[in-house]
């Protein structure tokens, strides 16, 4: 059976991709952020996940306002990146895992989450930047991935509680997948930032650190937040926290933080990287 071995959550700011493209990883501004990924690489090397489920939000590459899904799941054999308008180099395609995609689609729908399914899907910086950070050697070296998106552009957004339950449904779907494989969850986005309005540049370190604490041992505290509270405390684009909340919902066994780093600012954003170990309930019971 498939097993969720843990999760990695990271900011996905486009300028990280720009810094990678320009080779600025050792530049004084960027070094603290990129150095945080050394322990993440060590974790990946130790735990060797086979496939990733990447929960993120599209920023107007694959989806436009003509058709805006609240929750969508990629069901392709590979996912292409494309120009988002800012001249970031286009990355080579990333491999998918359509069997796992359909497992998630079938089992999540059975739990009353009515998904949009995408047999073709372009992945934007919110998918690509984290993949680059985790597997810097490129698309061919990265493990196959299933993209899952949550609308964070057009209100009404799904409530945090709903995103948490969506994650729970994904977790059950993965852990009932008959293939023997190790799954890592990726949550991308956040933490606090606001790009628009006269409050642009808003960052809330205190709230971000609170989120990074609660997400380990008290995720219900995050799931209970209203959308308004999240925007007030994390900024209008801080709603990307929903992706972290869904990721955390998918882990229903014992969760511990293997690594945690917070760095301000990454561009306009409270930059955060966390790695979680997950011990699924069934495996824990078997061991006792």
């Amino acid at each position: 059976m498939a097993r969720i071995i843990g999760a990695i959550a990271t900011s996905h700011v486009p300028s990280i991709g720009g810094a990678i493209a320009k080779g600025l990883q050792k530049d004084p501004y960027w070094k603290p952020f990129f150095d945080a990924f050394d322990p993440v690489h060590d974790w990946l090397a130790r735990n060797k996940p086979d496939v990733a489920v990447v929960i993120y939000n599209d920023h107007g590459l694959n989806f436009f306002l003509d058709q805006m899904p609240t929750f969508a799941v990629g069901a392709a054999e590979s996912y292409t990146n494309a120009d988002e308008g800012w001249g970031l180099p286009v990355r080579p395609p990333y491999a998918g895992d359509s069997e796992l995609s359909w497992q998630i689609i079938d089992k999540v729908m059975a739990q009353d989450f009515d998904l949009v399914t995408c047999q073709e899907m372009q992945v934007d910086h919110a998918f690509v930047v984290p993949m680059q950070l985790l597997w810097p050697d490129g698309g061919a070296k990265a493990i196959p991935a299933v993209p899952v998106t949550i609308n964070s552009i057009q209100h009404p957004l799904p409530r945090a509680e709903r995103c948490f339950r969506f994650g729970q449904a994904i977790g059950r779907a993965i852990e009932s997948f008959p293939r023997d494989c190790k799954v890592v969850l990726l949550a991308t986005g956040g933490l606090s930032h606001q790009l628009d309005g006269t409050r642009a540049g808003f960052i809330n370190k205190e709230f971000d650190l609170w989120c990074m604490d609660k997400i380990v041992n008290d995720p219900q505290a995050l799931a209970s937040l209203t959308t308004k509270e999240i925007i007030e405390k994390a900024g209008s684009q801080g709603v990307e926290l929903m992706c972290w909340i869904a990721m955390r919902g998918a882990m229903q066994g014992h969760v511990s933080a293997a690594f945690s780093k917070y760095h301000i600012p990454v561009s306009n954003t409270g930059g955060a990287v966390m790695v979680f170990d997950h011990e699924p309930v069934v495996h824990r019971l078997a061991a006792e």
């Binding site: 552009i153 057009q154 925007i231 900024g235 600012p265």
Partner: protein, 114 residues
């Protein structure tokens, strides 16, 4: 900003804004494609007509003014593609909206870490 959340300085892109801004956002979404960016730069007025922008939207584009573009229904994620045409990033966009110099805006961001 008159929306359901009423958070100062914080536009909410809801159904009202989505309807008002559709043509503007659709034009900005087209800037994912380099050919479209060049076509826009070659004749901005003709390009705006093709997408059926309202007069306030056209004015906001002509002024390169982010707050005006948001007031006209623009969503920041699509507007970022418009800013990208001129090589401007989210910090330039933030500086303009807050009336700060780019340097002052960056210093403000860095200060959040302390």
């Amino acid at each position: 900003m008159d929306d359901q959340f009423n958070i100062p300085g914080t536009p909410i892109f809801d159904g009202t804004q989505a309807r008002k801004g559709y043509a503007l956002n659709k034009m900005c979404y087209s800037f994912n494609d380099e050919l479209n960016r060049k076509t826009f730069l070659a004749d901005e007025e003709a390009y705006m007509r093709t997408y059926g922008l309202s007069e306030p939207q056209k004015e906001a584009i002509r002024h390169r003014n982010v707050l005006e573009l948001i007031a006209a229904g623009g969503n920041i994620y699509y507007l970022a593609k418009f800013a990208g045409i001129f090589g401007l990033g989210v910090q330039d966009v933030g500086a303009q909206q807050t009336g700060m110099s780019l340097e002052a805006f960056k210093e403000m961001l860095t200060a959040h870490g302390h």
